[in-house]
Amino acid sequence: MLRRTFVALPLVACLAGCRGQRQFARFVAPGDRLMMGSHQAGSETFAPLVDEAVAKLLARHAEAPVQQVSYDAEGRPLPCPPKRICFVGVENKSAEDIGDFKDELYEVIDARILDSAVFAPLNRRFVEAGLRATRIRPDELCVPQRMRDFAAHLEREGEPIDYLLYATLTSGTTRENRDYERSYRLSLELVDVRSGAYDKQSADITKGYHHSRLSRWRASR
């Protein structure tokens, strides 16, 4: 018994003293609990914002009355082609540096719009090449002449567009001593390049950041 203890104790001591193993990972399946960003927004915030904002925008335009303008050889009406949309980019005007989420947000929104068949988004690489070739800043596209120049450039490249789409992330912070609440808004603005008319849909989420578990518990009561 004593001998067994003598052997076991150093072994336990060694194991307890060892440096941890290398990092572990897991797949997060749909429905699994997501990590909650403790200091800033993460996918737990952005995913529902994107879902809601994109769904609202698509729903509004899917319901829009369609004016049939073309017919096939037998006189049957042809389905209206989806509107060509140029997704200019995601603008981060929030208080946080969203790090690697910016490109992620772009790709997710772009993919959702492409899947919907309500709009036909222009490939991102064409958008970037167009901005580079014309040296027009995304925020300058709202100037009518610059917008026309950009649309004309894309048309010359064989990629005509009907709409420009902007995504803007904003935030507002309310502080209470060491705790604070931050409301995040993702706005999608759709601008008709011919008329300048625009549509806007947005989604909001408010998140509380607490300095202690007790504070979080009190806030959630």
Binding site: G17, G20, Q23, E128, R132, R135, R137
Partner: protein, 445 residues
């Protein structure tokens, strides 16, 4: 007298142990003298003979590869050490306990705080030069790492010795230039440049960067941008310093305790040694750049410091120096207590020869300690950058290391760079006392 002689002798025998600094010195001399091949050979030999220091020596190997125009290899080596440091920075109670019985050299080296950030930032620079796609991710990791290091140092009483750490502005700068080159994410670029201006107020071009990203464009039509990144000067290194006041105080304390306790304590003859980061910047202060114009050259600009590595390392070391001294004093106390406990446990006669032998052994044990001088020895004194907007086409740039007064250090070298419309090109050079050394890499994205 005889007793004192017996006690001092082991100190003299053990004091000459080789430190990392001794191994590093010839490597630094060769590298800063411009002999990359000799420096690489010495680093390889050191890795072979001191496998436990392989990580920190691999960092030096990475910078040698970068200076020699092998940025892809440099990036791979730096990223490998980044992963090792991430693993080693976890606490190991067994290693901590063992280091309390020996010294800090027995702990696996997980890098100093500035090294853990710079390994990411310089890997990003190497990635740019190699034409890779990971530069932005690595720069983001550098910024995140420095936040993590500061956040983890908050004490129970809310104080944080690392709260005053000087951040590495190179990381947001790299993110800024990459975002600006998309011609789409000017908002991100402006945000990163504003961070640079705030973190490194001495970097004057940040104001122009903020203005351009806020309302201008990346470059005029028919132009592109060359970003010159220069690793300038000789970086900091660790030297051994003797903490005389702490040693003297400990000597007085153990004399008092020896006079009052049942057994004597080994006297503090061997001084307490701790590492201290010192700057040794060398002569070079910047890189002057000229452009071929007709038969002659025109001045294109001069690099500006975006990250003062030496200053950052020295300040960070000063912020945590007391902790290192405290750990060394605690180690001495533990060793003295162990010798006392053993003598008391076996009931030795306080003035007998066995007790004297124990004291001699105790002094020898203490004298065997040395400071941990492992460090990234080939870091530059500063990382400097220069932005040049140039017309589309091939250009030849003349690069010359200059000293404080603007005088040339070494001869100027010519480097070719290709500029494409609306795109970035990158040129990474190393400037030491021998001038511009090794091959510079230029790529287009």
């Amino acid at each position: 007298m005889r007793r004192a002689g017996l006690i001092v002798a082991p100190c003299l025998l053990l004091a000459g142990c080789t430190t990392h600094l001794a191994r590093l010195e010839p490597v630094r001399t060769a590298y800063f003298g411009g002999d990359i091949a000799a420096a690489e050979r010495l680093v390889d030999e050191a890795i072979d003979s001191h496998a436990s220091d392989a990580d920190v020596l691999t960092l030096d190997k990475g910078l040698l590869a970068l200076a020699d125009g092998r940025p892809d290899e440099a990036r791979r080596l730096l990223v490998t050490v980044r992963d090792r440091f991430d693993h080693l920075e976890q606490e190991s109670p067994a290693e901590d306990a063992w280091s309390m019985l020996t010294d800090d050299r027995q702990r696996a080296y997980a890098g100093e705080d500035h090294e853990r950030v710079l390994v990411r930032a310089l890997a990003a620079v190497a990635d740019l030069a190699a034409g890779g796609d990971d530069a932005e991710a690595l720069a983001l990791q550098a910024a995140e790492k420095q936040g993590e290091i500061v956040a983890a140092a908050v004490a129970d009483d809310g104080t944080n010795p690392k709260s005053g750490y000087r951040p590495v502005a190179l990381a947001p700068y790299l993110r800024g230039i990459l975002r600006e080159a998309t011609h789409r994410d000017y908002d991100d670029a402006a945000r990163h440049y504003a961070t640079v201006a705030s973190w490194e107020p001495g970097y004057a071009p940040a104001r122009d960067d903020v203005v351009r990203a806020g309302g201008g464009v990346h470059s005029a039509p028919g132009h592109g941008v060359v970003h010159l990144v220069a690793l300038v000067g000789h970086g900091p290194c660790k030297v051994v310093v003797e903490e005389v006041p702490s040693s003297a105080a400990l000597l007085v304390a153990d004399q008092i305790l020896s006079a009052t306790l049942a057994q004597s304590l080994p006297p503090t003859i061997a001084p307490i040694r701790v590492p201290r980061v010192v700057a040794a910047p060398g002569r070079v202060r910047a890189v002057a750049v000229g452009r071929a114009a007709g038969a002659g050259w025109t001045t294109a600009g001069r690099t500006t410091t975006i990250t003062d590595v030496s200053r950052m390392a020295v300040e960070q070391d000063a912020a945590v120096h007391d902790l290192a001294v405290g750990r060394a004093v605690a180690r001495r106390a533990l060793k003295k207590a162990t010798v006392f406990g053993v003598k008391e446990g076996i009931g030795l006669d306080r003035f007998g020869p066995a007790a004297l032998l124990f004291d001699v052994a105790g002094v020898a044990w203490e004298a065997a300690e040395n400071a941990d001088t492992r460090c990234w020895g080939l870091l530059p004194d500063s990382v400097q950058v220069l932005r040049l907007e140039l017309p589309v086409g091939d250009h030849t740039l003349a690069l010359c290391a200059v000293d404080e007064a603007g005088r040339a250090v070494g001869s100027s070298v010519a480097r070719s760079v290709s500029v494409e419309d609306g795109r970035n090109a990158y040129l990474v050079v190393t400037a030491v006392d021998a001038g511009i050394i090794g091959g510079a890499a230029a790529v287009d994205r």
